[in-house]
Amino acid sequence: MKLEVHTWPATYGEQAQPRMGFFTDTSICIGCKACEVACKEWNHVPMQLQGFTGNSYDNSVDLGADRWRHVAFVEQRLPADATDGGSLVQIAERGAAIDAGVQTYQEGDGVRWLMASDVCKHCTDAACLEVCPTGSLFRTEFGTVVVQEDVCNGCGYCVPACPFGVLDKREDDGRVWKCTLCYDRLRDDQEPACAQACPTNSIQFGELDELRERADRRLARLRDAGQDQARLYLADEDNGIHGAGAFFLLLDEPEVYGLPPDPVDTVRDLGSIWAAAGAAALALGAGLAAAVLGGRG
């Protein structure tokens, strides 16, 4: 069974807009968290005080109902002879310093500090909206995925369906919340709050096609400059979610940033899921019949 879940742009007819998205280039993220704040301020997302986590400079922990942009901080020690440094620190140069016997520790080591702003991926194949029973989650005319706060009844199905752990239920509210890619601003031809605020343009907003081309050029440049670890994440369609509306340039493996290396839309397996459920139902029917009708008495 193969379902055609790509309902955009077809269902919007003439009202369809170009698909909009984010390209988050983490190689120029300075970890300022302007995106987190601008998002909260625009969308009136409540405070979520979680105390000192010790997770480098990240005290917001993860994406969730009260955090639609989240900046990850990863501190890494790298061997001095690492030529695939990837960070913008020239680690190779450390070696000379060590030879001089000046640095007393991290002998042979350099530091790099990765920062990356995470957000809802607005998947092409979006499990959350597919499993949503109420239609609260829907795909907009911009190809984005939005929870409608006037519809959501807090069934919570989307929460475990999302392969990125983006959605969560707001405790005192009962509904599920996530990034809307600033649907209201988009309808007003404005950039989403996070992208507008981002000081270094690490978060770039635009038409997805154009962003993908830009990302390819950027990747080529970084790799030419010797950034062997640079990679694009979810920029293509040949992955388990058929590409994302929000994709990333990373400087290490996705899981280092808390992202799944191979995310898959669960609904891809819907055929086998329904088949198994159907078969099990038939088996149950057969069992019932056997028990009742097949007995000796």
């Binding site: 879940v5 300022c32 209201d184 404005q190 507008q196």
Partner: protein, 187 residues
């Protein structure tokens, strides 16, 4: 689906071109009519961020005489519409529930604040400045060189005061002979 009136329930709208109910059919009335609050604001004025000295441009949206949104001003050649986390939190600074909007007064040795009108407070402060100035006035040095000042009053200003405010403060206190006017730049 464009032709279907809004009161047709989503489950029926599904039949008209969104069988799986993943997109258009699921759109609620609120979503269909959603408007950004920057659009519905009564006016927008242009300001500058109050935190650091980069001087980022801000657009301040006002609705019903209340600030409803502050965001970066794309026209600014300094900031190009961008803001840092503090700048992005400016609206929350202005509409902060922690803001105190009435005068508080604490008499000597009291253990709690008391109420006081703004007018009374200003009057009392004026009296104290005059009194302290009189009591601590230095007319000349020991050598008879003119000093014409008081060191009995210390003014310490934050660096978020406007140029015009600083000017009036410096002008006024200098005329009063209160020379120790200082600010955050020293700190």
């Amino acid at each position: 689906m464009d032709r279907l009136p809004r009161y047709v329930p989503p489950i029926l709208r599904q039949l008209a071109g969104d069988r799986l109910g993943l997109a258009r059919a699921a759109q609620s009335r609120r979503s269909a009519e959603l408007v950004a609050r920057t659009r519905t604001a009564d006016r927008v004025v242009r300001s500058i961020c109050p935190y650091c000295a980069v001087g980022c441009g801000q657009k301040v949206y006002v609705k019903d005489e209340k600030v409803v949104q502050i965001e970066g001003d794309p026209d600014s050649p300094i900031s190009r519409g961008r803001l840092c986390p503090k700048g992005s939190a400016s609206e929350a600074l202005v509409n902060n529930p922690m803001r105190e909007t009435t005068v508080r007064y604490r008499p000597p040795r009291a253990t709690e604040w008391q109420d006081l009108s703004l007018q009374a407070a200003t009057e009392m402060i004026a009296e104290r400045i005059i009194r302290t100035r009189a009591e601590t006035w230095e007319e000349t040095t020991e050598d008879g060189e003119p000093l014409k000042r008081t060191l009995g009053i210390h003014f310490l200003g934050g660096a978020t005061l406007d140029n015009e405010e600083n000017y009036l403060i410096k002008k006024f206190f200098t005329a009063m002979g209160a020379v120790s006017v200082e600010n955050q730049a020293r700190i």
